[in-house]
Structures are given as C-alpha cells and as structure tokens.
Symmetry: none
Subunit: 111 residues, 2 copies
Amino acid sequence: MGVATNGTILRAGALEIRPEEFVVRAAGRPLRLTVRELQLLTALAQRSGRIVSREELYTEVWGEPFRKSDRSVDVYVGKLRHKLEDALPASSFIHTHFGFGYRFTPERKAP
Amino acid sequence: MGVATNGTILRAGALEIRPEEFVVRAAGRPLRLTVRELQLLTALAQRSGRIVSREELYTEVWGEPFRKSDRSVDVYVGKLRHKLEDALPASSFIHTHFGFGYRFTPERKAP
DNA sequence: GGCCCTCTTTACAGGTTCTTCACACCCCAT
DNA sequence: ATGGGGTGTGAAGAACCTGTAAAGAGGGCC
C-alpha cells in the first residue's frame, strides 16, 4: 500500500495542503494548481525536511520508471516555485540540492 | 450508511432543495427537474464548497462503479447549469475544476 | 402503434495541461 | 579559470479534459 493520505492535512508555514480535497491554501487563500502540480507538491510535503531524489519524486507522482533524461520534475518544481512565490513572497519552500534532488522546507527569506 | 437526508432542507443562495419531497425552489418558484437531475443537484449541494470528483458523484448518484469514459456526470451538470441559469441568471452554482471535478457554491456573477 | 419524456452514449470542437526539447546559466572538481 | 554535467525555463506540439448537440434506447400512456 502507498503512503496513507486519508483525511490528511499537510501544513508547512502558511501553506495548508489537503490532497483528498484537491485543495491547497496559502495563508487561507486557495491556490490554483493543476493535477500534476498538486501531486508533486503533496509528494514533496510528505517528505518535508528530507532531500528527495528526482527518481523518488517521479516514480511517486508519475507512477512509472524514471529515465535520467526526463526533466518533468524540474519543470514542475519551477511551476510550483512560481505559484508559491506569487502567493507567499516572503517564504521559500523548495530548495535545490545540487546532484541529489530537492528538499521541501518552509523558510523565511533573507531580508 | 449513506449521507443522511431525512427531512433535510438544503439552501444555497436563492435555491432551496428538499430531496425527500423531490422539490427544488429557485427564489420561491418550483424548478422542473428530472430524477437524475435532482439526485445530482442534491449530491452536489450536500458537498457544497468542496471540490468533488466525477467518481464520487457517479457512485453516489448512479450507484455503480465509475468508468473513466463515462460522461454522464458532465452531461447532467450541463443540464443543471442550463436550468439554474434560466431560473437564476444572476448566480452561478456549479464550478468546474479542471482535472479534479466540480464544486457547488452559489456565487454572484461578475457584473 | 404513435407520442412523449427521460436517460445513456457518442462525436466533435475548443480549451487546458503535460511532455519534451533546446539553450542559457550554474555549480563543482580539476 | 576551465570543462562538463546539473539545473532553470520558455516554447511548441502532443495528449488529455470538458461542454454540448444529437442520436439511440427504453418505458409509460393514450
């Protein structure tokens, strides 16, 4: 069985993710995400604080084997970063770890 | 057990739904709906404010497993929208969430 | 039968999202 | 400082999703 998500509410800073209800709120306001964006954000938030490889993210979200040349994860990380930046400009959530993958952690940006 | 509907009156804007009595009123005037239309509208109104998948709506109203190719929910959403538009042109009730499903929420239309 | 009404299914158009590619830039080891 | 793989990202076409008209199927009634 996969990761338990029943009735789950994931919180991270001012973000509230309800995967079951297809809803993400940023400081109370609903965030407009596509299916893939929501899936990827959920996968990241479920692994909050850990560095996660593209392979792990890809197999979790896309449900098929990862090819090293596939850039889908990067593209969607970019889309998520942009939407999160629009909604919560004072925070950053998705951090790159060169050569390893991404880490989801809400951080206050440097002033 | 299913959703409790005993003696329930669902209200949403100028809409009043009495599932037990097979009656819907729009600003006091009875709305002429078929059985399926009433069932679907009731299912939506019982989940007011939430994004609901076609699958959930289909299994609730049709009482059988959902096939991805089945468009019945979409067709009936269209019929409901048309009748609600005729009765209450200033409001919109059923909102599409691309890739996820529908959300029932009474909203004043943009002027 | 013929008519009417409802429900189901299909087809197509139009719109949105997803995938892939290309290129620029970045990071690190040498 | 330089080289080479890693990462960010815009753009374009493919793939997928939704709205809706229309046709077919079934039942009830006269």
